[in-house]
């Protein structure tokens, strides 16, 4: 990176953290620290909700997915607006009016202490581990791209988050989220503009999209009903509805964002903001990948975007095989470029037979290019022994570092790093809240001053930050453990939604019913995940339904038991 890029990156990062802390008021009181004394405007809370979900993985992984697969992934988000409306009508007023700090606190009021403690503990374990993954995924890529050491990169991502979350609480988190989100959206548009400006003369945006469409990259809707496929219209609208209701309605990292709003309607509006903007934002992210693909149709891309793996292959025992692949790749790229140029020319002629022939040639050309790339990736796996190697995360960083002008490179690198930072900040804040409110204040020291709880909260934020950094740095060693915990966390999503459905929708449900239901739900999901190939999204439906059925039955049995005793 150029010196000016470093100035942009460090200067903006320092200003964002400084301004976030400066805007923090009343953080010496518990309600100010955790809920901003319910003073955050709805649009800022709404941006914060979106920023917490938009992590660096979105910036580098999802854009790479757009490059490889196109817009197909957007189906995952189809149910989100409906989930937001459902939550605004049901859970949001319950949480807001009950004056709780955590979603799980509400469960003790409705059911009992054990249900609250169990759900909060599950949240702490799964969110604490995922925090490590949120740091490690971009840290691994950025450390290789920027030539930094992994620990330094992980700390560069996590430390600012720990500092401003620890000292500024939820207000600093929200106001930094607003600025980071602005930089991210500006950065996404900048990359798109640079990619389009890189099309050769005579190739319009329409031609570019037509070229992408010929390879299937603009196919958004898949109406096939297949329970094993994550990305279909049906899993995106039905199964994902359960996931989003659970994530936005019961996950403290999201709930805490809108509990800071000034009124219940403002809390609702902050959620509805995601309902309006999440799908267009994800389309923008995926479209960026698609347009970078079109750019690389005309400007030869490297065989592998991972520079480190390329160097390793060209200097190792597989150098000859790699060189042979490179020459095959050059031929395939030439053929694809010619097909793309022919398709653009055919579009201008308006001759439908020529257009169709151009599309077929383009599709064939792309299949051949992908075949060679897959063989190169296979060579990496074979040589490094890393069975999970994928080139997808290196595409966007490579484009940014090699094609963007000085200044924008620094801004985009900042956007990627801060996208991870703001996600961590939101999660650390919610981890600290759940630790202090659901455990420390509930079980250890029940009546102390706000100052005491604040000190404990800051320590909890710092400890969770250190824990996340540790998980991130040791992620390679902890690989399988993180996978196990993430899997465990996925068992929990549908099931916890089931508990909240019981709490609000089944008047005779009891604490025992909710607790037994939660265990039954998680067991059902574990069984489905282990013995069937049903896609993850549908497992959320299984979890929620199992909890509601079991919880209702236990509630009915307890009621019958009480009637018999009378």
């Amino acid at each position: 990176m150029h010196l000016f890029d470093w100035v942009v990156l460090l200067g903006l990062a320092a200003w964002i953290v400084y301004d976030g802390l400066k805007r923090t008021k009343d953080s010496q009181e518990l309600e100010g620290y955790f809920l901003a004394k319910r003073s955050i405007p709805w649009w800022a809370a709404g941006i914060s909700v979106m920023a917490t979900q938009l992590s660096a993985i979105t910036m580098i992984g999802t854009t790479g997915q757009g490059y490889n697969d196109g817009l197909r992934f957007i189906q995952f988000y189809f149910a989100l607006p409906v989930a937001m409306v459902l939550l605004s009508v049901t859970l949001v007023p319950f949480f807001y009016h009950s004056g709780v700090y955590t979603a799980y606190e509400y469960l003790e009021r409705r059911f009992d202490a054990k249900t609250r403690a169990f759900t909060s503990l599950l949240f702490l374990i799964s969110r604490g581990m995922s925090c490590g993954a949120v740091i490690s995924a971009p840290a691994v890529v950025l450390s290789l791209v920027l030539n930094w050491d992994l620990t330094t990169t992980a700390l560069a991502i996590a430390l600012p988050a720990v500092v401003y979350t620890m000292f500024g609480g939820v207000q600093a988190v929200t106001w930094t989220d607003v600025k980071i989100m602005t930089i991210i959206v500006f950065g996404l548009f900048a990359v798109i503009v640079v990619a389009i400006l890189g099309f050769p003369a005579g190739v319009s945006v329409g031609d570019g999209l037509s070229i992408a469409a010929a390879t299937g990259r603009l196919r958004t809707f898949d109406f096939s009903f297949d329970l094993t496929n994550q990305y279909t219209f049906w899993s995106g609208t039905i199964a994902a509805l359960f996931l989003f209701c659970s994530y936005f309605g019961t996950d403290q990292s999201q709930v805490q964002r809108y509990l800071t709003a000034r009124s219940v309607d403002e809390a609702r509006h902050s959620l509805l903001m995601s309902a309006y903007w999440k799908i267009p934002l994800q389309v923008l992210v995926l479209l960026l990948g698609v347009l970078v693909f079109v750019f690389y149709v005309f400007t030869p891309p490297p065989l592998l975007f991972s520079r480190v793996e390329t160097e390793r292959l060209t200097t190792g025992p597989a150098a000859a095989a790699y060189t042979a692949l490179e020459s095959e790749y050059a031929t395939a790229l030439d053929a694809r470029r010619t097909a793309a140029t022919d398709l653009a020319t055919a579009r201008r002629s308006g001759d439908s037979a020529r257009i169709q022939a151009g599309r077929d040639a383009m599709r064939q050309g792309d299949v051949e290019v992908n075949r060679v790339r897959a063989r190169a990736a296979g060579l990496v796996r074979e040589q490094s022994g890393d069975r999970r190697f994928s080139d997808v995360n290196y595409i966007t960083p490579t484009f940014i570092l090699t094609q963007l002008p000085v200044g924008l490179v620094g801004l985009l690198m900042l956007a990627i790093i801060m996208a991870a930072t703001d996600t961590i900040a939101g999660e650390l804040n919610s981890l600290s809240t759940a630790t202090v409110i659901d455990f420390y204040k509930r079980w250890v020291t029940t009546s102390a001053t706000d100052a005491h709880y604040l000190t404990v909260s800051k320590i909890a934020t710092g400890v969770w930050g250190l824990f996340a950094c540790g998980v991130a740095v040791w992620a390679a060693e902890l690989g399988s453990l993180i996978e196990v915990v993430n899997r465990f966390g996925s068992f929990f999503y549908g099931s916890i939604l089931g508990v909240f459905i019981l709490a609000i929708g089944v008047p005779f449900a009891t604490g025992n019913g909710a607790f037994v239901g939660l265990i039954a739900g998680m067991t059902s999901v574990a069984w489905v995940a282990s013995y069937t190939s049903v896609a993850f999204l549908w497992q959320n439906v299984v979890g929620a339904v199992a909890v509601v059925i079991t919880g209702t039955l236990v509630g009915l049995m307890e009621r019958a038991g009480r009637s018999n005793v009378r």
């Binding site: 605004s88 037509s210 603009l218």
Partner: protein, 31 residues
């Protein structure tokens, strides 16, 4: 009578339907 919040929900769902239609139109137009 619908209150302001209900009107917001209807607006969200209408925009949602239009967004999906736009994506479908994009897919159809370029294929």
């Amino acid at each position: 009578m619908m209150n302001a919040m209900h009107r917001s929900y209807v607006r969200v769902l209408a925009v949602w339907a239009l967004t999906l239609l736009a994506l479908y139109a994009l897919q159809r137009y370029f294929s």
